[in-house]
C-alpha cells in the first residue's frame, strides 16, 4: 500500500482537485459523447506559425535563450502590446517570456506574495487562481460577479471585499468561464480603488483579442496604472497555440526582476522554437486571428440563442469562447445537471462550481467546436430537458 502521502505538504494535500478532472475522466471513456467542455481553440495553429517553428528546428535553433526570451521575441512583444493595448514596455527590463500565462501568473504570485498576504480575484474564474495563491501560503479572497452584470466586476463589490492585508488584485477580462468583460468606466473605477489601496494588479488578458462587443481596454493603459500593473498575455487563445506553451509578462522593472529570479531557477527559459513561432504570430498572425474570431462570434450567436430557446437563460458573452447558461430553472445544482446530462445524453458541460462558488447555478459550454457538434449538443440537451418531470 502506498503510504507516501505522508510526505506531501499540508497545504498541497488539502488543496482540492480541479472539478474538471473528474469530468475529463468520464468523458474520455465515452465513445460518442459531444463535448462542450473544451477550453482551447478547435482550430489547428495557422500553418505559417507552425512553419516558423519547423524552420527554427531546421536551422538547428535548439538552444536555451536568454532567461527573458530572445531579444527579437521581446522586441516584437513590446511593439505588439504598444500597438494594441497602449503601454510601452522596455524589452530589456520590463518584458519576460514565459511558459504560457499559467507560468507568468505563478511566478508573479511567488515573486510578490509573503505568507499571509491577501489576493483579491473575481469569481467565477479560471480554475488555477485561488489554488496558485494558496500554494504561496497566501489567502485568496473572491469577489462575486453576477449574471445581471454580465459577470463584469462591480467596483462596489471590489470595495466591499477588500480587507487589510490585500496586496494584489487579479483581473481576467474577457473572463473564462463567463465571457465577462470590463468597459473603460468600470476599469477606471477599479483603477482608482487600486491606487487608493496601493494594490498591485495582475491582468490576465489571454482572451483579449477574442472580444466580440466593443473595444478591449487594458487596465495597464489607464493613468497611474502602468507602474502597478503586470500585464499577462500569451498565444494560446488568439493564435490557437495552446501546445506551444508560450506567453509573457510586461510590467514595472522591479516586479519583472523578481519574477525573473523565480523563472530562471525554475524554468530557465521558454522553448526557443515556441518563441520563434510566437514572433511569426505577432508579426503576421492578425488575419488568421480575425478569421478565427469571426467564427467564434458566429458560433456564440447560435449557441446562446439555442440555450435561450431551450429555456436555459444565457447572457451574451462579450468575449472568449464560452457560454455560461443559468441552469437553475431545471431545479438542479450545477454538478447534478452536468452529471445527469452526461449520463443520459452524453453531452459534456463543465459545472459552474468548478470555477468557484459564484458559478453555482451555471454550467460552462465552450463554443470552440464545430457547428455540427453544437447543433447535436442542442438536440440532446432539448431531449434531456424534455425528460425532466414538470417540463
Amino acid at each position: 500500500m502506498d503510504s507516501s502521502g505522508r510526505f506531501v505538504a499540508r497545504h498541497v494535500a488539502t488543496l482540492p482537485k480541479s472539478g474538471i478532472r473528474d469530468f475529463f475522466a468520464i468523458v474520455s471513456k465515452m465513445k460518442d459523447a459531444v463535448s462542450l467542455g473544451i477550453g482551447e481553440p478547435d482550430f489547428v495553429t495557422p500553418y505559417h506559425i507552425r512553419e516558423a517553428a519547423i524552420a527554427s528546428l531546421e536551422k538547428g535553433r535548439t538552444s536555451y535563450t536568454d532567461n527573458r526570451g530572445t531579444q527579437q521575441f521581446r522586441e516584437e512583444i513590446s511593439r505588439y502590446v504598444a500597438r494594441n493595448y497602449g503601454p510601452e514596455y522596455d524589452p530589456e527590463t520590463e518584458i519576460l517570456g514565459t511558459i504560457g500565462v499559467s507560468e507568468a501568473l505563478d511566478i508573479l504570485l511567488r515573486a510578490v506574495l509573503n505568507p499571509g498576504d491577501k489576493v483579491l480575484y473575481h469569481e467565477p474564474c479560471y480554475v488555477s487562481y485561488a489554488p496558485s495563491v494558496t500554494l504561496c501560503h497566501a489567502e485568496a479572497i473572491p469577489i462575486r460577479t453576477v449574471s445581471a452584470d454580465q459577470f463584469a466586476l462591480d467596483p462596489a463589490a471590489l470595495r466591499a471585499a477588500w480587507q487589510p492585508g490585500c496586496k494584489l488584485l487579479v483581473l481576467n477580462f474577457p473572463t473564462n468561464p463567463t465571457g465577462g468583460t470590463a468597459d473603460r468606466a468600470k476599469l477606471e473605477a477599479i483603477a482608482k480603488f487600486a491606487i487608493e489601496k496601493d494594490l498591485l494588479v495582475a491582468s490576465d488578458e489571454i482572451y483579449s483579442e477574442l472580444t466580440f462587443e466593443g473595444d478591449h481596454v487594458s487596465i495597464a493603459s489607464l493613468p497611474g496604472m502602468r507602474e502597478r500593473t503586470v500585464f499577462l498575455h500569451g498565444f494560446s487563445k488568439a493564435f490557437a497555440m495552446t501546445g506551444f506553451r508560450i506567453g509573457y509578462a510586461c510590467g514595472p522593472a522591479a516586479v519583472i526582476d523578481g519574477m525573473l529570479k523565480v523563472h530562471q531557477y525554475g524554468i530557465m527559459c521558454a522553448p526557443i522554437m515556441s518563441q520563434e513561432a510566437a514572433v511569426e504570430a505577432l508579426r503576421n498572425g492578425r488575419d488568421s486571428m480575425l478569421h478565427m474570431r469571426d467564427k467564434y462570434r458566429e458560433r456564440r450567436d447560435f449557441i446562446v440563442r439555442r440555450f435561450n430557446e431551450l429555456g436555459l437563460k444565457c447572457h451574451l458573452p462579450r468575449g472568449a469562447f464560452y457560454a455560461f447558461p443559468d441552469i437553475t430553472s431545471t431545479g438542479m445544482d450545477s454538478m447534478t445537471f452536468a452529471q445527469k446530462l452526461l449520463e443520459q445524453q452524453k453531452v459534456a458541460m463543465v459545472p459552474g462550481t468548478a470555477f468557484g462558488a459564484a458559478g453555482a447555478g451555471f454550467c460552462r459550454a465552450s463554443f470552440s467546436t464545430s457547428y455540427e457538434r453544437i447543433h447535436e449538443a442542442g438536440e440532446r440537451i432539448a431531449r434531456f430537458l424534455d425528460s425532466l418531470p414538470g417540463r
Binding site: I20, F24, S35, S128, N176, V350, E372
Partner: protein, 160 residues
C-alpha cells in the same frame, strides 16, 4: 456574402434543417435561399468531397495542357465550351503562360484518357498540341488535407 452560402462553404456536413436552426431560419427558408442562389448562377451544385483513395479503385484523373489556335475557329470561348461539353471533363480553365487551356479529366483507366486525347481533343479544330499529366496521389483536395494523420487527436475532451 450570403449567410447560407458562407456556412456551406465552411465545409461542415450540415443539412438544410441544421443550417436553418444555426442561422435562425426555417428549413424552408434555407431551401428557398439555395434555390435562389442556383437560379442566379451563383451556386452551380453541391457534391461531397471524397478522399481520392476511396473514389473508385480504377478511376484515373489527368490534367491536360492544351495549346490552341484561335483564328477561324471562334476564339478561346468557342473551343473551351466545346471541350467542356465532354462528360470526361471535370473542369476547364483559360490560362496565362505557356499553354492556353487547362483541362482536368477523369476516366476508368489510362487508355480511356489516352483515347480521349487523341480521338476527341486532338481532332477539334484549333487544338494545336496537348500535354497530359496523370495524378498519382492527392495530398490536399478542395481545401481538405487528405493525408492528415490525426491532428487534434490528443486534444483532451474536457479542459479548463
Amino acid at each position: 456574402m450570403n449567410s447560407v452560402l458562407k456556412l456551406i462553404l465552411d465545409g461542415e456536413a450540415l443539412d438544410t434543417a441544421q443550417i436553418g436552426r444555426i442561422l435562425g431560419l426555417g428549413a424552408e427558408a434555407v431551401d428557398r435561399e439555395l434555390a435562389a442562389l442556383r437560379q442566379q448562377g451563383v451556386l452551380l451544385g453541391m457534391r461531397p468531397v471524397l478522399n481520392p483513395g476511396f473514389e473508385s479503385e480504377h478511376r484515373v484523373r489527368a490534367v491536360i495542357e492544351i495549346k490552341v489556335r484561335t483564328e477561324g475557329v471562334g476564339g478561346f470561348d468557342a473551343i473551351a465550351e466545346r471541350i467542356s461539353a465532354f462528360e470526361q471533363v471535370e473542369s476547364c480553365y483559360l490560362m496565362s503562360g505557356g499553354y492556353d487551356l487547362l483541362v482536368v479529366v477523369t476516366a476508368d483507366n489510362l487508355y480511356k484518357v489516352a483515347g480521349f486525347v487523341h480521338e476527341r481533343l486532338a481532332r477539334i479544330d484549333g487544338v494545336q498540341g496537348t500535354s497530359t499529366h496523370f495524378f498519382l496521389r492527392a495530398y490536399k483536395k478542395d481545401g481538405f488535407v487528405v493525408t492528415a494523420d490525426g491532428a487534434g487527436r490528443d486534444r483532451p475532451s474536457v479542459s479548463p
